[in-house]
């Protein structure tokens, strides 16, 4: 007998475990490219669990209840992402909404702490959202081909018509740019740049940081799963995992060899990619 609750729980746990290990692999790849041994693969997972047992700090300057609620919301939206994505294969529009709330979390967890580093990250989150949302929105062009925003229907479309990555490669590049944007130490990760300590995460310690790290690993898993399902169609779990490892290694290389861009350049490069790829895809579809 199918048990929905068990399906959701298993998928959320898998997303957390695989997401954490993949982010560990990302750090390892970066370290090896930079000729360092790097931490073990399970380091990110151990870090995430460790923070749940650490003492939490409450700065005098915080905005209550946002300082706490925003990390719980972050966790809630990515668990919803797992439910809408891998469990139900539901509407891509909801994932789009979840991504928007993620940008809000980056914005508010920075500003609600009162820290100057968090504040700079908050302002940068507004910059980055202005282009990242456009990049994500362009994925709506898939609708012009598959006539559905339902992830299950898009997968079925590819089963009949072949993978979308060969039909609309520019769209795949746009979605890959979103993944690069969310990779740690990426050239576009202006909200967590080391010039502003850890950006919006600077003041969050203890279980609040635990929530953030847990959510980031689930987010990484969901974004990679989405990319593989939206552009490669119906592939087995084994191939999904292999695909996730390959994408993580590629993003690790990019993060290791590319310096972080300044906020204006980051936005304009993302905006340019979105514009070129959208126009190119429209020409591909209609001409």
């Amino acid at each position: 007998m199918y048990n929905l609750m068990a399906d959701i729980l298993i998928n959320v746990c898998l997303a957390f475990l695989f997401g954490s290990l993949l982010l560990g692999l990302h750090r390892k790849v970066m370290a090896r490219v930079q000729l360092r041994p790097g931490p073990p693969l399970i380091q990110y997972l151990l870090h995430s669990l460790k923070f749940f047992f650490k003492e939490s700090s409450w700065p005098k300057t915080i905005s209550k209840p946002f300082y706490v609620a925003i990390t719980v919301i972050l966790c809630g939206i990515w668990v919803t992402g797992v439910i809408v994505g891998p469990v139900f294969k539901g509407s891509l529009m909801i994932i789009f909404g979840i991504y928007a709330v993620h940008k809000i979390v980056e914005h508010n967890s920075g500003s609600s702490s009162g820290s100057p580093y968090g504040k700079l990250s908050c302002v940068r989150a507004v910059f980055s959202a202005s282009s990242e949302l456009l990049l994500f929105a362009s994925v709506a062009l898939i609708y012009l081909l598959s006539h559905s925003m339902d992830i299950g229907a898009i997968i079925n479309y590819q089963e009949i018509n072949g993978p979308l990555i060969f039909k609309v490669p520019l769209l795949a590049i746009m979605f890959f740019t979103i993944i690069v944007t969310k990779a740690p130490y990426s050239p576009f990760s202006i909200t967590t740049g080391k010039d502003i300590i850890s950006g919006f995460e600077t003041e969050h310690f203890g279980f609040l940081r635990g929530y953030i790290m847990l959510s980031e690993s689930i987010m990484w898993y969901v974004l990679l799963w989405l990319f593989l399902c939206l552009f490669f169609g119906p592939i087995s779990l084994l191939w999904i995992l292999i695909g996730m490892i390959i994408i993580t290694i590629i993003t690790g290389f990019i993060s290791a060899i590319t310096p972080m861009l300044n906020p204006n350049h980051s936005v304009m490069i993302q905006f340019t990619i979105a514009l070129i790829c959208t126009v190119g895809t429209l020409i591909q579809i209609f001409v």
Binding site: T80, S91, I104, S112, V123, V126
Partner: protein, 223 residues
């Protein structure tokens, strides 16, 4: 097109003559998220913003005074309710009205602060928002003229014409300006350098959610 193929199967309808309000899982997610944030803003307190000072080792703190807090909280709650309304409306004209209301409220929320550089940026944003209200309403009027209705449920069954697509493009330009996304982002980001975290949140959140809803509406019109 089938409207269920965008945000999931319909969960309910509220038929009000020509204008039919409808809700699906996507609208429900956006609506509930908006209400949660609006509730948190209503009960929330502002942070004390710490800034470094040049020339000394001292810190400078900035707070929101009570009078300013009350005015900004009221406008923020109204903005949250307007955004929640925009998430579930099934009427194109209501959507444009909600959008322009959100633009005005965003200006109001920031313009009660007393920092000159922040006021400068909100003035620039206000100019863009006002200018973009022309393509926004113009686009909606063109869609109405081309298909004879503003009900999204009715529009979804009409085959798109060149005029409807032109109207949709104008609406998109209007929405970009009203919400301050790229390439109009430069002035808007500077508005966030002021304290008042819960109020800044609603300014940002309303813009992002509006853009997502507009993309859904444009797909309904154009396909």
């Amino acid at each position: 097109m089938n409207i269920g193929s965008l945000g999931g199967d319909l969960l309910g309808l509220i038929p009000l003559g020509d204008i039919v309000l409808y809700i699906n899982p996507f609208h429900l997610f956006m609506f509930v998220t908006m209400l949660i944030f609006t509730f948190l803003i209503a009960i929330g307190r502002t942070e004390t913003q710490v800034e470094t000072q040049f020339g000394t080792l001292d810190d400078k703190t900035k707070t929101v005074d009570l009078k300013e807090f009350r005015a900004r909280r009221f406008l923020s709650v109204v903005c949250g309710i307007a955004t929640a309304g925009a998430m579930i409306t099934g009427d194109l004209y209501n959507l444009t009205l909600f959008m322009s209301l959100i633009g005005i409220l965003n200006i109001g929320i920031i313009s009660s602060v007393k920092q000159i550089d922040v006021l400068d940026s909100v003035f620039q944003y206000g100019l863009i928002a006002m200018m973009c209200s022309l393509p926004l309403f113009g686009g909606a009027a063109l869609v109405l003229g081309a298909c004879g209705t503003v009900s999204l449920l009715a529009i979804q069954s009409i085959k798109p014409t060149a005029m409807m697509i032109f109207g949709a493009i104008l609406m998109f330009i209007g929405a970009c300006g009203e919400s301050g996304i790229a390439p109009f982002f430069a002035s808007k980001a500077e508005m966030f350098r002021t304290p008042g975290s819960p109020f800044l949140l609603i300014v940002h959140l309303s813009s992002l959610f509006i853009i997502i809803r507009v993309i859904e509406v444009l797909l309904i019109i154009c396909t």
